[in-house]
């Protein structure tokens, strides 16, 4: 024991770190902040460390070349001992890290922690959030499969929407004219050196400020932040009702971090690594690219936004959003911290959270995409066909053969791009159906060129059968009235 102490003393004499470390660990924090609500930041840091370690280990095997990356991932998955598990931990660690950073962000926002004097801590935090998302995106590119390839195409297409600098920005992003070897190399440099280096530096700055300025006290309604008096009040609070960070608060951080690591390990073991999906050969166009979970909301928004809004939203949206987040501590640097007295903040957060959740949920089944093989792979139920006349059955063939089923659902099968046609006859009359098929409209292509009159007749006669037995077909009231007023000779033919 004394030998150990001697060795310790030898280092301490030279490093002189024990004092500052002890001071940092045992500095007093408000008792109210030793709470389970304050564990998300430290857990995000823990997961970041995990990502650095697993990332370095993966780099032992991974080959950052467009020609070899996919093969090296297969090699990791199948040949290298526990390679699959490290990939899985890194992939799930990424999900957990984004989630934790987002939760930390929401907590800090709700607790008013961005207010004086912690404005810069918040601004650095905004950049940490953006870089965490950048790591998630560039990480998806490292998994150089079809999703990564077409994901890069989407990134390039978004970049290409910038006026004037668009072309140059696309070439800079891709490292050349197309998505190729140079693209993966530069994303590797971003994912492995540039962004993590910045993250480490900014995390250091973020933590330094937390230590220097003290952790945000639990917000109490009515306890107003004022520039002149806040620091004095905070120090009095810590003096009067403070506890040493170690051990009064840190045990909760430790418990939570350990639980998160355990959860990541469990997810990795149970769900395994992400992909890689198909081989990144652009000539394989039978692919349905989708982004990773944390970008699904964006995928949904890009499908649902009105097309004419898209370019402005893509260019101006991020500027406004990031600008707002950076300016927030200057716009409301003082005043109430408690969420109980900040209804606008709570409503804003809820609105954003609910929107993102809804968009993410929608993106999991992407109702805006045609189902590319519904026309050949999803037959209509036989019960729909049995009562049909030969002409109507011919209409079913047209419906399938012309890919109507890719976008339109009938009896629960088919695409959701267009309206569900299960009861279309109750909504549209014969004439309306003919017009819609021939001219298109709304979001439907016009089929005049690709259907001959016989096919239109057959198709519409089938569509007119699509109504429940107890619900009549839609009819044109004007036509009925006209016929009643002047019965034509044709009437007797019916």
């Amino acid at each position: 024991m004394s030998r150990l102490k001697q060795i310790g003393d030898w280092f301490e004499e030279r490093l002189q770190l024990a004092g500052p470390i002890r001071e940092a660990m045992t500095h007093h924090v408000p008792r109210s902040s030793a709470s389970w609500w304050y564990v998300f930041g430290s857990a995000a840091l823990t997961v970041f460390c995990l990502q650095v370690v697993t990332g370095i280990l993966l780099a032992f095997t991974y080959v950052p070349s467009a020609a070899e990356a996919w093969n090296s991932l297969q090699h990791l998955n199948h040949d290298v001992t526990l390679g699959w598990y490290l990939r899985a931990v890194h992939g799930w660690g990424s999900n957990f890290m984004v989630a934790l950073v987002l939760i930390h962000f929401c907590q800090v926002f709700l607790f008013g922690a961005y207010k004086y004097p912690r404005q810069l801590t918040w601004i650095v935090g905004v950049f940490l959030l953006l870089m965490t998302l950048a790591m998630a995106f560039t990480g998806q590119v490292m998994r150089f499969d079809q999703d990564a390839y077409w994901g890069l195409g989407i990134g390039a297409s978004i970049t290409g929407r910038f006026p004037i600098i668009g072309a140059a920005a696309v070439h800079m992003l891709l490292g050349g004219p197309i998505i190729a070897g140079a693209t993966l190399s530069r994303f590797f440099a971003l994912h492995v050196f540039l962004i993590p280096g910045l993250l480490i530096a900014l995390v250091g700055l973020h933590l330094l400020m937390v230590l220097k300025l003290g952790v945000n006290e639990w917000p109490m309604p009515g306890r107003i932040v004022r520039r002149g008096t806040y620091e004095k009040e905070y120090h009095e609070l810590v003096k009067k009702d403070g506890v040493p960070f170690w051990p009064a608060a840190i045990w909760k951080d430790m418990f939570f971090s350990a639980a998160i690591i355990a959860a990541i390990m469990a997810c990795a073991a149970y769900f395994g690594p992400y992909g890689p999906s198909g081989y990144p050969d652009p000539t394989i166009i039978q692919t349905v690219p989708k982004p990773d979970f944390f970008f699904l909301w964006l995928y949904a928004m890009l499908a649902l936004m009105p097309p004419e809004m898209e370019t402005p939203a893509l260019i101006i949206g991020p500027v406004v959003l990031i600008g707002f987040l950076i300016l927030l501590p200057f716009l409301s640097g003082e005043g109430e911290k408690s969420w109980k007295r900040r209804p606008a903040a709570v409503v804003t957060l809820l609105l954003v959270a609910v929107s993102l959740a809804v968009f993410t949920k929608l993106a999991t089944f992407s109702p805006w995409s045609p189902i590319m093989n519904a026309w050949s792979g999803e037959p209509l139920p036989v019960s729909y066909l049995n009562p049909l006349s030969p002409l109507q059955r011919q209409g079913v063939l047209v419906f399938q053969d012309k890919q109507c089923h890719n976008c339109h659902e009938i009896a629960g099968s088919g695409g959701k791009r267009g309206p569900d046609l299960t009861r279309v006859a109750t909504r549209m009359t014969h004439d309306q159906l003919v017009r819609q098929v021939i001219q298109g409209g709304g979001n439907m292509p016009a089929y005049a060129k690709n259907l001959n009159p016989a096919e239109v007749t057959a198709l519409v006669s089938f569509l007119e059968t699509l109504h429940p037995p107890n619900q009549p077909k839609a009819r044109d009231a004007a036509q009925a009235a006209a016929q009643a007023a002047a019965p034509s000779p044709g009437e007797s033919n019916r």
Partner: protein, 191 residues
């Protein structure tokens, strides 16, 4: 300790100090020059993807195949190798495109990349439509936009027929600002 330093400071003569300050400034200047000199090759290296891009130096005429490979009134998938390649590209150099042959030497060659966000569109000959799997963009057989979010029709490569072979001018990923060829077709009075 602090007292010692102050004594030293007092001992220093003002002339001596100003000379050192001056030398420090020269030192800063020298480093500034060095950084500037170093920055030039670094910037040149970083912007290398841009060099020649505005003059279209990436683009070349490439043979897609014999005319006989593309029957009239049909649209077929063709593949070509990107004109500029590097050792680390793997399969990413192999680029697909849709070739529509109308009559004779009348062609349209479309990029597979949807004009919305670049996903690969698929051709359905039965309904005469291109459909995109990502966000539901749909195009007519002539590449004009039929429905969905795309802001324009499909991107087209310039083509020519030489010695019985179909050639296109290609070489960069088409996006709204790096178009294969800017063709804005509207369906006019179609509907």
């Amino acid at each position: 300790m602090i007292g010692d330093r102050e004594e030293v400071n007092e001992k220093q003569q003002t002339g001596d100090l100003s000379r050192r300050e001056w030398l420090t400034k020269i030192g800063l200047l020298l480093n500034g020059v060095a950084v500037t000199l170093l920055a030039m090759p670094i910037i040149g290296y970083l912007v290398s993807p841009l060099i020649g891009a505005d003059k279209g130096e990436y683009k070349r005429w490439i043979t897609l195949g014999n005319l006989s490979e593309f029957p009239e009134n049909q649209t077929r998938l063709a593949k070509f190798e990107n004109p500029i390649t590097s050792f680390a590209d793997g399969e990413t150099d192999h680029i697909p495109c849709w070739v529509r042959r109308m009559q004779g030497e009348n062609f349209q060659v479309f990029a597979v990349n949807c004009a919305h966000l670049g996903c690969p569109v698929r051709w359905f000959p039965q309904s005469g439509l291109f459909m995109c799997p990502c966000h539901g963009g749909v195009y007519y057989e002539d590449g004009s936009r039929a429905s969905g979010p795309p802001p324009r029709g499909l991107f087209e490569y310039p083509f020519k027929v030489e010695n019985g072979k179909l050639m296109i001018e290609a070489g960069q990923l088409p996006t709204l600002s790096t178009t294969a060829k800017l063709v804005t077709r509207s369906r006019g009075c179609q509907g």
